[in-house]
Symmetry: C2
Subunit: 143 residues, 2 copies
């Protein structure tokens, strides 16, 4: 739990970088054997690419680091509940554990109908307030 | 309909290239104003990346060509029904029309719970036999 908060803080830092770049502020970190092997933030605006969510980049980075496409034994920390696309990608990756901060009641996979891999353990609510606050501030600034 | 078969043939050629490379044989083509603006095939093995489905690459390519991240006004031709990840990506892209060949009764978004954008028109079954046959041959060869 203490570790979860530590790694979520790093994901939050990634989200903050996204915020400063005018991107929807979501950050992700992948951890294997207690070490960070990938960190990323949302880049959909900069790359002009709807697929450039933080999770997608983190999956690609982690697989590249590991030299294999499966993320068995890995934990992903993500500030916001994944969307259906990212849940689908995490399904294929066979990620061992997913930890997310804030729920996404509009576009999260729990409402949009995506599915994680049956072997993926899920922990929610780590630093949820901070994760939500950043998103809220972003959309308030946008208006 | 005639055009649909023409473009699906090109997607099938992409799938054939994937087959020859030892990849699950799925191909995709994106068409805007009657012109092909992206074509891609599955590269999950070569890139060691579960996110490297044909559709994902075609979305990124088409957006790069268009200089904007939305695929409004575009049609995607894909030999196999998209998975939940790809359906989720197509949702974000706001693709106008999706044409797919074979249904994927195991991992297609219709069984896995993904969702396309409500504005996306869907046509299925174009060259379905050829699309299915290629997949079947691939998995027979694998055994």
């Amino acid at each position: 739990m203490e570790n979860d908060e530590y790694f979520m803080d790093i994901a939050l830092n990634e989200a903050l970088t996204a915020f400063e770049e005018g991107e929807v502020p979501v950050g992700a970190v992948v951890v294997a054997d207690g070490r960070i092997i990938a960190r990323a933030h949302n880049l959909t605006e900069r790359l002009n690419d709807v697929t450039a969510h933080a999770e997608m980049q983190a999956i690609t980075m982690a697989a590249s680091y590991l030299g294999g496409k499966y993320l068995k034994g890995c934990t992903m920390y993500i500030t916001l509940e994944p969307c259906a696309m990212c849940a689908g990608a995490l399904y294929w990756s066979q990620l061992s554990r997913l930890v997310y901060g804030a729920a996404d009641l509009h576009r999260g996979y729990n409402v949009m109908g995506g599915l994680l891999h049956p072997k993926t353990e899920i922990t929610t609510g780590i630093k949820a307030n901070e994760c939500t606050e950043l998103i809220k501030q972003f959309f308030m600034k946008k208006r």
